[in-house]
């Protein structure tokens, strides 16, 4: 088994070793290159996907995945290289041309019209018409129903799209692609916006597409999904092809090492060696809050990283809000840096050195259009200037220092946060909270939507902060992350604590056992209100 595919220019039929297990290619890319000012985004990449094949496309952010799919979908023109679709060499003039030929991309941000019906959305650009040139609604509904049935979906074609769940909305887009005879459907991180059960529905749908002979290219940061759905995986790194391998020849750690270019064991920093000492810096004493926090007690000590694990909807986030004071306590109390409080509030919590990174960094955390310096200094404006005026020079200096410390990839303190990658945005937020927090940090899904390389850096920063004496509480849905990063893990099921794991007991199996301990935590069921 070879890690890197040898390139064979001029041999378009089998540009890649992995082509051996395919029969007929729907799309074939050879020696594809694309540069943007200052960046070589794609460097002589080969890719071949067969009809009915599900191909995972993985790599860190900036590896060239988006550039590659945009070239295949006609949104970018390549500088160099061959593109063949459906057996014919081609170069798309526009995304429409690619779509007419049968290439469809389903972006994370769906292209749907929420106030139009499902049928209108499916036929938004070519409604069937009768001989008076008027839209034939009956025919449109009939054809929409037929496509939806073929996809095994019970969605009503007359329902407005705004009333559907995200999963059903994705399905409407898939139906639209099928309506125009899609031969290749590219999914750009489709699962990032889905709940657990909805992912299963999407995967069932992809299996149906595969059975119809439609080829699928699937981009995801969640590697377990690659193994769940893909036949083969293509790994890109720094714009270059690392390799294409059938999934059965891959393991998760092998895939990660291909993506990051070094072994997986290095992913997490070493754990704490000594037992935590002294009184807890943040503790919950039998707290109740809302329907999802039922009698939780926990303690977080100086220098320790504690994980909060459980199913989505088990109450993890609600516990964090209760600890921070952003949700009211009905019973019990929290201890913040040695002070007990029965009704904590966020201002007090911040004053006591507690920080809270919420799971929605765009909505609840960052000022997206402002620059890095402004984002970092926002909560500590009082400290960087006189009573009346801000010291902008000091603000920039602080930002510059943190950009260096956390290896934030940006042009400087004046870079707008909206232009940073997810990982770098998260580092800006971490930088901000570290300035105000000297007691404890609560991190809710700190690496969501962040690529593998940036994840590693965030893990390193988290451990560094713990070593500096902060207590850190991490909430995460990714078990390998919880297990690799945390010294101790508290498992929550249906709002109750079902166990605590450390050392050798801390395995995926034990966490899962406890996570479903009270009989199946509330999984999202995919039903719209």
């Amino acid at each position: 088994m070879r890690m890197a595919c040898p390139r064979a220019p001029g041999d378009a039929q089998f540009p890649c070793n992995a082509a051996n297990f395919m029969t007929s290619a729907i799309v074939s890319v050879t020696g594809m290159s694309k540069s943007f000012p200052g960046v070589r985004s794609l460097d002589r990449v080969d890719l071949e996907v067969a009809r009915g094949e599900v191909r995972a496309l993985v790599g860190e952010n900036g590896a060239g995945k988006s550039t590659l799919i945009k070239i295949i979908a006609g949104a970018y023109r390549p500088d160099d290289g061959e593109l063949a679709f459906d057996g014919r060499s081609t170069r798309w003039s526009s995304p429409h041309e690619a779509a007419r030929a049968g290439v469809h991309v389903i972006y994370q941000e769906l292209i749907l019209f929420p106030d139009m019906t499902v049928a209108q959305n499916i036929f938004v650009n070519d409604q069937p018409r009768n001989r008076f040139c008027l839209i034939d609604k009956a025919d449109m509904r009939r054809r929409a129903t037929a496509i939806l049935e073929e996809l095994g979906s019970p969605i009503d074609p007359d329902e407005k799209v705004r009333n559907l769940t995200v999963a059903s909305q994705q399905l409407v887009e898939i139906a639209r692609a099928l309506k125009s005879n899609a031969k290749l459907i590219i999914f750009d991180e489709p699962t990032a916006v889905l709940g657990g059960h909805e992912v299963d529905i999407l995967f069932a749908m992809i299996a149906r597409l595969k059975a119809r002979g439609v080829a699928v290219i699937f981009i995801s940061h969640r590697l377990e999904e690659v193994f769940a759905i893909a036949d083969s995986a293509t790994v890109l790194k720094d714009g270059k092809l690392v390799g294409t391998l059938p999934v059965k020849e891959l393991t998760q750690s092998k895939l990660v090492s291909m993506m990051i270019g070094r072994p997986l064991a290095d992913m997490f920093p070493p754990k704490a060696t000594s037992e935590p000492q002294g009184a807890p810096v943040l503790a919950a004493n039998d707290i109740w809050s809302g329907p999802k926090v039922k009698g939780i007690s926990l303690a977080l000590h100086k220098g320790e990283i504690v994980g909060l694990a459980g199913m989505v909807g088990s109450g993890r986030t609600e516990i964090a809000h209760a600890l921070f004071g952003s949700a009211p306590l009905e019973r019990g109390s929290v201890t913040q840096g040695g002070t007990a409080a029965t009704s904590p509030d966020p201002c007090q919590s911040i004053a006591r050195g507690i920080g809270f990174l919420t799971e929605n960094r765009k909505e609840e955390g960052l000022f997206m259009l402002q620059d890095i310096a402004v984002n970092i200094s926002a909560p500590i404006l009082g400290r960087i200037g006189s009573a009346l005026f801000l010291n902008r020079t000091a603000e920039r200096m602080l930002a510059r220092q943190q950009i260096a410390q956390y290896a934030i990839a940006a042009t400087g303190p004046n870079a707008a946060v909206v232009n940073l990658s997810g990982g770098n945005q998260q580092k800006v937020l971490l930088g901000r909270w570290v300035n105000t927090s000297n007691t404890a940090l609560i991190l809710d899904e700190p690496t969501r939507g962040v690529d593998v390389g940036a994840k590693m850096e965030i893990y390193r920063i988290i451990r560094e902060l713990a070593n500096r004496g902060l207590g850190i509480l991490v909430i995460s849905s990714e078990l390998p992350e919880i297990i690799g990063l945390c010294d101790r893990v508290i498992v929550i099921a249906e709002g109750r604590k079902t166990g605590e794991l450390t050392g050798r007991d801390l395995t995926e199996e034990r966490v899962m056992e406890l996570a479903v301990a009270t009989g199946g935590a509330g999984l999202p069921n995919g039903v719209a209100a």
Binding site: I111, F113, P114, D115, M116, V124, Q127, C133, D156, S168
Partner: protein, 325 residues
């Protein structure tokens, strides 16, 4: 993926009811409330004679609001309709100047002019990426200036026969009022049964998405604003027929008055949701309200206040609906 199904018949009926927008129910309820109140408070209100009068009087507001609806559905707004009415009304009477032979060419020319200026609004918005509020506000100022350059005072007159449009009756019902209904029906067919009509909803819902789906945003906006301009021109012509002459300030106030029935009827300013039925009901609601307040000798100032309250209330209800959905 969809809520659990009970018996097919009951779900079909429930679904049908659920799909009636709340805004329409609210307007119908307000219309009923107004009619009942009017009947109680005034014995002249609930008479067929009065209703036929209101039906006639609503025509001008109806036609201009219809055009406004098309623009608001694209997510835009047309503030130039008032000045357009002023321009077209004075131009129509000035050019016809009592000559029956000129009626047809002038009417066609004026409507085409309205359509062309409207198209320009749409294209400027699209290609210069300026908010339609600014484009049409600027256009309003330009049109008003041109109108006043043309004439500072009411100009010309129209032949007696021309006034059939405003005062003529067919089986006792106002021809102008019927023509307005006819325009609404045409617009409904246009919106729901043509590709361009559907494109208006798509562009209003998500312009970038519409572009990516191969819908021409420029063309769609040009058509929506063009129709709004043409319908404002028709309103100007209709008002000439009613008054017997044009007036360089005839359309003053119509830019805002035309928005009221649109938003009361449930078309949201963000675009993509709503329709002409709501606007039609909104037009009758406002017209009946003013009619009743006149009967009750309520000062015009109170009429403004009540209209303002209705706009805010109706829109607040629609917003609430959006949150629940």
């Amino acid at each position: 993926m969809t809520p659990t199904q009970s018996t097919p018949a009951s779900t079909a009926v429930t679904r049908w009811f659920r799909r009636i927008p709340l805004s329409l129910i609210v307007v119908v309820a307000l219309l009923l409330l107004l009619t009942v109140t009017g009947t109680v408070l005034s014995d002249r209100f609930a008479t067929s004679r009065n209703f036929l009068n209101v039906f006639q009087q609503a025509a001008s507001l109806g036609v201009v609001s219809l055009g406004q609806t098309l623009v608001v559905l694209t997510g835009g707004i047309d503030l130039s309709v008032g000045a357009m009415i002023s321009l077209t009304s004075n131009l129509t009477s000035g050019l016809i100047d009592g000559n029956p032979d000129r009626v047809l060419p002038v009417v066609i020319g004026v409507v085409a002019l309205g359509a062309a200026i409207g198209c320009m609004n749409g294209l400027l918005t699209h290609y210069l990426r300026i908010h339609p509020l600014i484009v049409t506000l600027g256009m309003a100022s330009i049109l008003q200036g041109v109108t006043l350059l043309y004439s500072l005072a009411p100009l010309g007159k129209v032949p007696q026969e021309f006034q059939v449009l405003a005062y003529g009756r067919f089986l006792g019902v106002s021809i102008g009022g019927l023509a307005m209904i006819g325009l609404f029906v045409l617009a409904a067919i246009f919106l729901h049964f043509t590709r361009t009509g559907n494109a208006i909803y798509a562009v209003g819902g998500d312009p970038r998405g519409a572009h990516l789906m191969g819908i021409s945003v420029a063309r769609t906006l040009a058509i929506a604003y063009g129709l709004s301009g043409a319908l404002a021109a028709i309103t100007g012509i209709y008002l000439v027929s009613r008054m017997g002459t044009g007036d360089p300030w005839r359309g003053e106030g119509f830019e805002l008055a035309s928005i009221t029935p649109v938003v009361v009827g449930g078309t949201i300013l963000a675009g993509g949701r709503g329709g002409v039925l709501g606007t039609l009901l909104g037009v009758y609601l406002i017209s009946l309200l003013n009619n009743l307040l006149n009967f009750l000798d309520v000062s015009t100032f109170y009429q403004w206040i009540i209209q303002g309250l209705i706009i805010i209330t109706a829109v607040a209800i629609n917003v609430e609906r959006g949150r629940r959905a």
